[in-house]
Symmetry: C2
Subunit: 353 residues, 2 copies
Amino acid sequence: MGRRRQSVTIKHVAADAGVSLQTVSRVINNEPNVRPAMKEKVQASIDKLGYVPSIAAQRMSGSRSYIILAINDRDRTIADWKARDGRDWVDQMLLGGMLTAAERGYRMIFELVDTHSDHVERELGAALSALQPDGVIVTPPHSENAQIVGLLAERGIPFARIGSKDDGPGIAMTMGDEVLAMKATDHLIELGHERIGFIAGPDGYSLSGWRVDGWQQAMANADFGCEGLCEKGDFGFESGLHAARKLLDRDDRPTAIIASSDQMALATLEVARERGLDVPHDLSIVSFDNTPIVRFTTPALTALDQPIAATAARAVEMLIDARKDESQTEPVVVEGELVVRGSTARVLNHGNA
Amino acid sequence: MGRRRQSVTIKHVAADAGVSLQTVSRVINNEPNVRPAMKEKVQASIDKLGYVPSIAAQRMSGSRSYIILAINDRDRTIADWKARDGRDWVDQMLLGGMLTAAERGYRMIFELVDTHSDHVERELGAALSALQPDGVIVTPPHSENAQIVGLLAERGIPFARIGSKDDGPGIAMTMGDEVLAMKATDHLIELGHERIGFIAGPDGYSLSGWRVDGWQQAMANADFGCEGLCEKGDFGFESGLHAARKLLDRDDRPTAIIASSDQMALATLEVARERGLDVPHDLSIVSFDNTPIVRFTTPALTALDQPIAATAARAVEMLIDARKDESQTEPVVVEGELVVRGSTARVLNHGNA
DNA sequence: CTGAAAGCGCTAACAA
DNA sequence: TTGTTAGCGCTTTCAG
């Protein structure tokens, strides 16, 4: 093997078209100040020779790297992949991010970074140095990690924080968690539910709080109380079992439960089965992740769809365009929607008189 | 933005350590002929400054790009992502490929290429020119696409063909399709089945044939006939409905069916339901993809697990080591296994006397 | 509007 | 064992 050189370079094109390297470069980069005739001639040579610029060389000479780096939490991602239960967060990010990047001549590279580790900075720093991406997308919980955000800001790399509303550097993006929680709650209220339980996510994620806020807000709007109706989980199945049991142990148990993750919704379904509660007639359930898995339960779960693909696509676009207007102050919201399935139904009037 | 330069380069390290650039380079690349003391000193500077080499620069200077390119069929992949029914082929490739690459200091980049298009060569060629990967992984149906294989060979880039046994350039890899089909068939035979139907994949994929071969072989070994027991599908759900109906329309309908894809297995389940056949007691079903989805049907499907992650991991390793021994003649087999679930059971003796 | 020169960060080849 | 030189393919100055 050894030194595999570029087969056709800018030199070949320049020679073929009988112009300088610089002119070819201008054509490639769509720069102004190239006479149409010239441009055509060069383009013809490019097409003829099948020339494609090397991104390494482009990067070296100080221009863009044409790389967008998407980083995700290592442990969570690997756990999902190994569990093989159909969670498709990564796929949706690829669907939205990768395809959008490709349309603009960019590539998206995926990278897993450990949040908990004390060498986050090293891990991420190494990726940035090695890859020199033109933009970075961070997802929860990274998007709220001060070290990570700080490093990105310090290096002056445009980045998008998905699942973060904080001020500060980088583009803050959310999927409208608060509104989503309200949508779910309102849906249940319309079905006649009054005691709607909520299983919250862990404190480490701001979005856990936003979701609770949305639920509380909707409950307040309908003049329903929330006391004792909110339990906390960690997004995982086990914690969901725990929370669901606590909620359903109440004398005036909720007739509906909104869970902040698919696993916790599944756990709630499991607890309902355990107690002989019919879903949706004795208990309605709404999941806060519309992952594939929630369509395959019986009944299929009504869920809040998180528009991950659309968000990633948006992030990529903003990052690619981020050259000038550094300061996007308002968080960008790509709002998800409620997908109604079989796990929610009109509340029954039995045993309540 | 503009020209964002590397913050700390080899020069800084050289200066800090008081040595030449070349010495630093030698240390980075773990080359021999560096005195331990020297090496330590340099390494100390590297650590102190947090230096990480730029892969763009490394590539430029004629060494490796530290990039492994994994290409998949565009239409199929996007369709899967959009369908959101939990197919996790890509995730498993990432799990195996990306993590293995990372361990060795490489990155894996995903790319979608259109097989049907007449500009496959351009699409792939562009990716190769832009990225200059050190290795490429191709999956079905690309792995049997002459244009693609030809281009890769011509460019002298090491590549692995997953799902291909052909001789020729590149590392051929399979997941043991024939053996897998035999395993499934033998499993059913052990349960007392004699009329075991098979829904084959489309001709465009060699592995469709291997699977049929394995089934026929196992049937022959048990002295059971195959006539009229094989129908062809295209891996999709619709085609599965079609094939399953044909098989179950027979007077001596099969008591078990092996489907060459998860979707076709699901379709078979659907047809069974349609006809009022109980699965597994009236009809046993084996799926040829252990995607997440097959665990969520009722009953959960017995399935042949394709070790995609392991295969991708193996491919990455071989590609990274592919510098010398170009000629791996024998196909590499990473064999999958049968996962028994509720869709297969002992054959019932009713209505057969 | 076009071209020539310099250099990005790194490594291969050659010297010392 | 270490250092020096040249150059990868491209873009950025800066001249013309």
